[in-house]
Symmetry: C2
Subunit: 541 residues, 2 copies
């Protein structure tokens, strides 16, 4: 017997209309590519989202047609999220840090019909447009008069001219909530990038789960600055969660250096932010160098990579900001866990709380987790047993776009590729990537532990621990270190720094210093490049 409740689908269009009705005057502030600040309201964002929907109708785009974006975090990108998905099309965010060849490959694979781009990326578009076979319309996210006449790009229009004359009302269509709404490619370690296709249902459920007090805790009293890019897993769902709650948004655009981010946070009274550790490193370094403090910042969500303990401590002790460790993946919309303390931790001292906060956190309701051994058998949640982490839930991938790679799941569980422990309180901690783990003499060494210890040294700006082959122990750890400007430290001093912090056999065999550690398009350290670079390195002893 079915319940007798209204049969209303969960649709992305409802989010922007809800914001327009309940938070008409709440602000959305964007630092534009031009450098100036743009300021408007959710009511205006909703109006322009409807204009986008109408402009797409006018182009004759069919239901589920893909609209690509190559853009920073800003108000026009925000409008595309709702206008494209709300009208039944699929917003396909492309990472502009990819190579031009990868951009072409992805746009062709997705069969994008329209591609909208920030003017920053005009040079890329100029280079690649003839190879993007399905794109019929190129939309530059700018005013009509900002568009050069001589680009040579066929089908190029300025966004403001494209939507400008459309009426401001629109009847959002109602359809199956399982329909696709957004597409994001993830670059695997092997083969071509694979597309993750989110549905309206998964996106709205993820927005509910992500906004919960024990997840990202979004309310109409917050002001959020999403550093995490909208071209990467929908900025962790923040645009949807923001519309659901009506919080003020401050989009940083392309200026992610410490000074720009700090000044924007202060000027716009930001209370919460979200991003990867590398961005926070720039921010904290700038603030320390200049002796700056925050006036309004309360918390920052750190994901993408494990946050070094020293950074969590510095945020807390030097700047009064709580770090919320979060973990997820493109295949998970992306939220899996967030590290919020429980009632029983509130009475603990700061060190005990920090020990909890170092973990990636508890699952958001909607995500089920398990850890298994090499035979696929469940491991206990004791905070000790480490195994492959698998997840399940309504905002987790069931397959990739066009069936690439086949069914990624094992009995309905998606294997994350991470190795983790889970403690009795449900706090998960990543100990390694399956492929990153260092196997020495039959025992595992966590490269993350080694990196965190190295990062706690005052002279270390960034550290990567990689495995090198070893005739006796199978593999042994090598530590690759980027020093902070103006500091010095020796190989011996760094190795001595590990004494007493890990077992002797876990101390790296060697340290090498580099000018820079290569970062991927989403800010993660590219260890595969380091492994390639140091594959001939001879370990001492």
């Amino acid at each position: 017997m079915l319940g007798l409740m209204q049969d209303q689908p969960l649709l992305v269009s409802a989010l922007i209309e809800f914001a327009a009705r309940h938070h008409a005057d709440a602000q959305i502030v964007s630092r534009r590519v031009e450098g100036d600040l743009h300021r408007y309201t959710y009511a205006q964002a909703a109006t322009r989202s409807r204009q986008v929907a109408r402009a797409l109708d006018r182009l004759g785009l069919a239901f589920s047609d893909r609209v690509g974006t190559l853009a920073w975090n800003g108000y026009r990108h925000f409008e595309l999220y709702f206008g494209v998905s709300g009208s039944g099309r699929v917003v396909h965010t492309i990472n502009p840090r990819l190579s031009p060849e990868q951009v072409v490959w992805i746009a062709n694979h997705a069969e994008d019909q329209v591609l909208c781009f920030d003017m920053t990326f005009l040079p890329i578009i100029k280079a690649v447009w003839p190879q993007c076979k399905t794109v019929k319309h190129w939309i530059a996210l700018c005013d009509a008069d900002a568009l050069p006449a001589d680009t040579g790009i066929v089908g190029l229009r300025a966004y403001e001219e494209w939507i400008g004359d459309e009426p401001s009302d629109y009847d959002w269509p109602e359809f199956d909530e399982k329909s696709a709404c957004a597409l994001c490619y993830t670059s695997g370690t092997t083969g071509n990038p694979k597309g993750v296709l989110y549905s309206h249902r998964s996106t709205v459920l993820h927005a509910y789960g992500g906004a919960l007090p024990d997840a990202l805790n979004f309310s109409a009293r917050d002001t959020i600055l999403p550093v995490v890019p909208m071209f990467h897993v929908n900025a962790w769902g923040i645009p949807y969660g923001a519309a659901m709650t009506g919080m003020k948004i401050v989009f940083p655009g392309a200026a992610l250096d410490g000074k720009s981010v700090y000044e924007l946070m202060e000027a716009e009274r930001v209370t919460v932010s979200a991003g990867v550790p590398t961005v926070w490193l720039m921010l904290l370094n700038h603030m320390k160098a200049q002796g700056l403090k925050f006036s309004t910042m309360q918390r920052t969500i750190i994901g993408g990579s494990a946050c070094p303990p020293a950074m969590i401590k510095s945020f807390r002790d030097d700047f009064g900001v709580t770090v919320l460790h979060a973990w997820g993946m493109t295949e998970m919309s992306p939220l899996g866990t967030v590290c919020n303390l429980k009632l029983k931790h509130l009475a603990s001292d700061k060190d005990a709380q920090l020990a909890v906060q170092l973990k990636q956190g508890r699952a958001v309701f909607g995500v089920e987790m398990k850890i298994v051994d090499a035979e696929g058998k469940d491991l206990p949640w004791d905070g000790v047993a480490a195994g492959d982490l698998l997840v399940k839930g309504p905002w987790i991938v069931s397959g990739y776009f066009k069936g690439e790679g086949g069914d990624p799941c094992i009995d309905g569980w998606f294997p994350t590729g991470d190795v983790a422990t889970i403690d009795a309180d449900g706090f998960m901690q990543i100990t390694d990537r399956s492929k990153d783990v260092i196997k020495s003499g039959g025992e595992w060494i966590s490269s993350i532990d080694i990196e965190n210890i190295a990062m706690a040294h005052p002279a270390v700006a960034m550290a990567a621990c990689i495995a090198l082959p070893h005739p006796k122990w199978d593999e042994r750890p090598l530590l690759v270190v980027m020093k902070k400007p103006g500091t010095e430290v020796t190989r011996e001093a760094l190795l001595a720094h590990f004494e007493g912090k890990v077992a002797k056999w876990q101390v790296p065999d060697d340290v090498v210093f580099v000018d820079a550690i290569p970062l991927g398009a989403t800010g993660k350290m590219q260890k595969n490049k380091l492994r390639e670079q140091f594959k001939g390195h001879k370990l001492p002893g």
Copy 2:
């Protein structure tokens, strides 16, 4: 094109299993009918919910069969919520404050197969059991040895004996998320009670929406004492929201007097509570009389009736507790709106904030609202125009059990029967019930406004404003007042108290004093009884 996300239904069983895995040791404390405190964990609650599911399987109950409950807020009732619904049956909560005849009518209409009851209600069950034609199994919520041998009730068993020997594991079935999970009857103003049939989908979505920071703001750092009964609209969804977030629960059982509630709040370090104004009146009166303060309470959710401004002020100024005004209905699962301030209100002074907090609040995402005039035309959201309030959303009723009363909706919108304004910020304020409104000389007088002003007088314990027919003005207001014990006030003094607070023509024509104002089964004032009682009352002048 559909998205490629896992097809996982939203089911109530997932809530209790999530709590068991992530909050195994979080506490659930219950004041039992016996008077003592019972204390256990979510892990134990989940185990016993599974035992309930197994016991129902053993009885041979079919999918969607109804299991009635007649019980206070306590751990066994909590287990029934999950064991009954999780295993695919429908938990049918019956209000024990109804007359025995109504209980019989409802149990027969619902075709309850099993009826579980607290020992408090054994006298009712003894009186009615032969008339409940479909109930085959009577389960007393007690230990085996607490069950009298001579009840004469055929099919009577003690709960602990019933579930005690069942294994602690259970494979919760997976089924369509739109399947029915809970049933609650609402007594309309005319005709028989009507059953609202919640689905798993509506219940889980409502739990997400209700736990949001701008709704009830539930986290694992909270301790909640739900005064609002589990027999009434699932205690506003708190049991589900608590399992979703792992917060500590303190169930007050039958002891809802001020002293009992206060002592339990203090002993268990409660941070949040929820209930109707009448209960808070008892609590505040007790605390004021004894000169008591709260140690841990932060906020209380008040719904069911509009909260008098004097009470909101007293909570805030005398006890440091924030009142969250909420509004909903049985037909809405029940949450429609919650009154949380926005960013722009934070800089306002206390009086300006109070003016916002008097409203019923903003819609929870998932609920759409509109106000219409007598012709059904949309009225503006300007905080002035008052009209019939209609709602729409995935946790709002589409029809009543067995089709009673036909389709309640108008073009998919459910008419709430409330008259309201909505301001430009989306804050809704109930001005009256459609049937309560007083129409004097073509103008409306808000009985709620009149009651709130009366309640602010130090000698008034409770006040009801009703319309009496009037030859010239059509209707005129009569104020019915229950005085606080040990206080005195005259008719003239009370009428003078209205001067300057409302327009002259809105001041009641007369005041009558009564020993008690009749309250309905859910604690609301029964104005229809007062109208009957005073229908012959002659207004002066």
